[in-house]
Amino acid sequence: MKNDPTTTVNMSDHRIDVKSRPLCLSGKGVTKYFGFGKKITKAVDHVDFEFHEGELVSIVGESGSGKTTPSKMLLGLISVTDGDIYFQGQKRDISTRRKKREYWHGIQAIFQDPFSSFNTFNRIDTVLLDCINMRGGKHLSKEKKFEMMTEACSFVNLKFAELTNKYPFELSGGQMQRLMIARIFLLKPKILLADEPTSMIDACSRATILDMLLQLRNETGMTIIFITHDIGLAYHISDSIYIMEHGKFVESGSADEVILHPKAAYTRRLISDVPKIHEAWDLTTV
């Protein structure tokens, strides 16, 4: 369908109007510097952002433009040099371990490399049981827990009964990434931060995984922050897009706005770099 130039598809089928929804996560002047003195690296430089509830927002940038740093800051894995992050209208407070743990009830992540995302010494049921325990299901009966895990796995088309005693490294990359989504399904966070979840797997599995993410969003109404280098992909799935260059957001807005009427030169370059099957590809701009 996508390869047929004669059919035009309305990409905004699943798009939702987010402006009316309340803010879920926002930031003002968020900054992260590494090093000091002359060797200072401005990984994220005074960026503002507003993510609404139930929105699927993409942060797009090429390699090295500083996409992973904001994701780690949003997750609270690294500290923020300057600026404030607001979570559900209130200033985020992750000063203690307890508060951090509470914050992580609201935000979860899927990482880029499925092969290094799991502890290879833990079995799959351990991974899923951790999620149930984190949601306060420690006291549940064994049968109930098994039922929940089976449900989560069937959501991502995995058969839990076949996986119980397996280790993550015995699965394929696509299966592991689906297991990651099953984890999110059990945790049901307010925000899901997906850091290039499809860049390490093949196109076929990619479609499945994107479909699952969209389905998850529609069912639970969670905000998904999708970090990617693939602007074409971002256009197809996102409600709004932030374009990142050298630690700054050079352009932001709804997906149609940004892609169809780009203002920044960097955005135009990113769009022209997308390979098109039915046109000659101008490599000079790459």
Binding site: L77, R97, W104, H105, Q108, Q112, N119, F121, D130, M134
Partner: protein
């Protein structure tokens, strides 16, 4: 786990090292069972009895004899009493009086005696020979002549009145079976300077030295692991403090530190375990440094982040998400720590700063004794060479096992 073990034992290097190590270990465990008793008990009065089987002469006299007539018995007997020095001086005399001795092999006793008996005349006095030299030749000749003459030894014993009474005659053709003699002792490695059984001492010393290595290795690995994990994972100020202390210990040569500490403890207070403790407390630095650097590379991995996001505590993350990943490395470091602790003990003891000498022997103490009593100058190889061999074998086998493990855990090193 099972799979890893199978892989480890399929590595030829590990297997060879393991077999050597187990063989040495079995010697230490089994030999005391077959030959019980205090390894430091003095069984001999002299020093450095060479290896061999010792038969009680006293018991041999009363033992039933058998008669054998062997053609070369006399010649052998002669050959054994004729020392190399005697042979050379005999040839010197012969050349001095002008006898042609070209082509004579001085180890050939028969030929030498034949030419000597044909030519020696005590009235001839070669030019430039002193009277003393002449007399020594005369006595040498007398000794040679008397050897062939006497065929029987008479054993006498004083009776109640003090008169000597003949007990038995020993013919030169009499033999006793070693198995019939009541008291026989086999010393495969002879005795040391105090007249103690070297092999028994060695078996006990291997046990003690391995124990010292194990205790020191455990202490060093434990300290190194805990400090490395904490400073690597927690980072920040704690990392700075730990690395500061570690660097101080790294800069001071640990052997100098060992010598100073052991000297200040004093000979009487230095038991084997005290020495092990001191060695352990001074050799943890490299483990700390390398564990720390491994942890730093691990702590930013996604699986650790995922574990954090799952709300796991610091202790749980360190124990389940970090430790298993460096476990193979820690095992290898532990093996090397054992090996280097054994060597450290040997070095210290050689300098006289090892465990006190009255309780248990260690490999280092045995070398120290051999050195103090100049075994190396007197050619008493059995007092020190087996010890060196065992130290080399233990060290070699542990390093071989380490290399084998390294190849299993780091597939890029496989050839």
């Amino acid at each position: 786990m099972k799979n890893t073990l199978r892989q480890v034992f399929h590595s030829p290097k590990f297997l060879v090292g393991f077999i050597i190590f187990v063989a040495v270990l079995l010697l230490a465990i089994l030999y005391p069972l077959f030959n019980p008793g205090n390894p430091l008990q003095q069984i001999g009065l002299g020093t450095f009895a060479p290896p061999g089987t010792y038969v009680s002469l006293y018991d041999a006299v009363g033992t039933e004899t058998s008669t054998f007539r062997l053609d070369d018995a006399d010649a052998k007997r002669l050959a054994s009493v004729l020392s190399d020095e005697d042979r050379v001086s005999m040839v010197n005399w012969l050349t001095a009086v002008g006898v042609d001795v070209t082509g004579l092999d001085i180890t050939d006793t028969d030929a030498l005696l034949e030419i000597w008996n044909a030519n020696y005349d005590q009235s001839i006095r070669p030019e430039g020979m002193t009277n003393a030299q002449r007399n020594s030749y005369i006595s040498l000749n007398n000794r040679l002549q008397s050897l062939g003459a006497s065929e029987t030894l008479t054993v006498m014993q004083p009776d109640e009145e003090g008169e000597m009474e003949e007990v038995t005659d020993i013919e030169s053709t009499d033999y006793v079976n070693v198995g019939d003699v009541t008291n026989v002792i086999t010393l495969p490695l002879g005795t040391d300077n105090f007249g103690r059984d070297v092999l028994k001492e060695l078996a006990s010393a291997i046990g003690t030295s391995l124990m010292i290595g194990l205790v020191a290795g455990c202490i060093a690995t434990f300290i190194g692991l805990v400090l490395g994990l904490l400073s690597g994972y927690v980072g920040g100020v704690l990392d700075d403090i730990v690395m500061f202390i570690t660097n101080i210990f790294t800069v001071i040569p640990s052997f100098v530190l060992l010598i100073l500490i052991n000297y200040s403890i004093g000979q009487e207070n230095r038991g084997a375990m005290v020495v092990a403790l001191v060695i352990g407390l001074t050799s943890w630095t490299w483990t700390t440094r390398s564990v720390r650097s491994q942890v730093i590379s691990l702590r930013n991995r996604d699986h650790v982040n995922l574990s954090k996001l799952s709300g796991h505590s610091l202790v749980r993350i360190v124990l389940t998400d970090i430790l298993p990943y460096i476990a193979s490395y820690v095992v290898m470091a532990f093996i090397l720590q054992i090996s280097s602790a054994i060597l450290s003990e040997a070095q210290l003891s050689l300098l006289g700063l090892g465990p006190k000498t009255t309780e248990v022997p260690t490999l280092g103490l045995m070398m120290n004794w051999a050195m103090l009593y100049s075994a190396h100058l007197g050619g008493k190889w059995w007092a020190y060479f087996p010890v060196i061999g065992v130290i080399a074998l233990i060290s070699f086998s542990l390093n071989l096992m380490n290399t084998g493990l390294d190849q299993v855990f780091n597939p890029t090193l496989r050839d």
